[in-house]
Symmetry: C2
Subunit: 197 residues, 2 copies
């Protein structure tokens, strides 16, 4: 008999997930135990599968199940437009809005003096390489309207100045706002009204 | 190549958990994928274990890993006091307060005319049986201070009237308040100041 140690350990691990605290983790685990066959076992199986198959795209940083993601391998997405985002959640938010038909580049964060995150810690060297080799005609800087996001956008704009058309999302992104919080319509409007940097 | 179907399915399933919505589920899944080895795989393993071992105590309705739970099998907890709670989260909240040394009875909900939940849908017949056979001297009705919780407490008090000392949590439980939201100190105070029904 293993007592309730495993259940306690499961609650503790769930409580570490973003958006969950100890109380909601307890509720979630009780819910999962009640729906053992319908929810807990399938969820565990799916997690095993994702743990075994999910990986970061070596080209753009998107999350998928192959070394190069579906968007990077799709010829239809090779329209010369490259949308630079901070993380995969932002890429997903852009995809939900269905407004962008080109490819992405996921930086994996923003420049931050405070956290000692420089260009080498992000995918900025790879971005510069892609612009030089992938026939990119426009780079859309779809970074969050935060100080770090805008600092990063300016740094990239400096690096790519003169090599490519540089634009950023315009109308609709509120000051201090994060892309992943915006509704799809707002993202669509901001993309359509994008302006040169 | 399985594309990102599994990742989407995982997000969808996580979004069904209490406390998580689509956005926090996406954040949680990205976090899990980033911490594949440290978090996702161990979490999946733990879920498999809990799915295989967790069960409801046949006596009291607590969640554990054996047919009869640790509290029901512990002789130290056989002090004649039986604490009736709505669900396992409430039992856990009582245990965290460490104020109660007896045994529990988990109803599995409250009476509700609206949802057609009668005594037979809860563990009320089993409660009456336990009071008659387990040497119970006091039943503490630790139900939530909601209308359904108090209706249920009154129903149980009627059923057990004259057979046993009946008390309920007193001081500290706010009107409309739910046990699982209270801090440990409040629960301790309410238990110490319990009064006869
Ligand atoms: Zn890619
Ligand atoms: Zn039990």
């Amino acid at each position: 008999m293993s007592s309730t140690r495993d259940i306690d350990a499961l609650i503790e691990m769930m409580a570490k997930l973003p958006g969950l605290g100890p109380r909601s983790a307890r509720r979630a685990v009780l819910h999962l135990i009640r729906k053992r066959a319908l929810l807990l076992t399938p969820l565990a199986d799916l997690m095993q599968t994702v743990a075994a198959t999910a990986r970061e795209c070596l080209n753009c940083g998107n999350v998928g199940t192959s070394d190069i993601c579906d968007i990077c391998t799709s010829e239809k997405r090779a329209n010369g437009e490259l949308c630079v985002v901070e993380d995969v959640a932002d890429l997903w938010a852009m995809e939900r809005s269905s407004v962008f038909k080109g490819r992405y580049h996921v930086l994996g964060g923003t420049l931050s003096a405070l956290d000692a995150i420089g260009p080498q810690e992000l995918r900025i060297p790879r971005l510069i390489d892609r612009v030089a080799t992938e026939g990119i005609t426009e780079v859309i800087l779809a970074l969050n309207a935060t100080i770090d996001g805008q600092t990063t956008a300016h740094y990239i704009a400096d690096q790519l100045d003169g090599q490519v058309r540089l634009t950023s999302l315009a109308q609709g992104v509120p000051i201090g706002g994060e892309l992943d919080y915006l509704d799809d319509g707002t993202i669509s409007a901001a993309m359509r009204a994008r302006k040169s940097v």
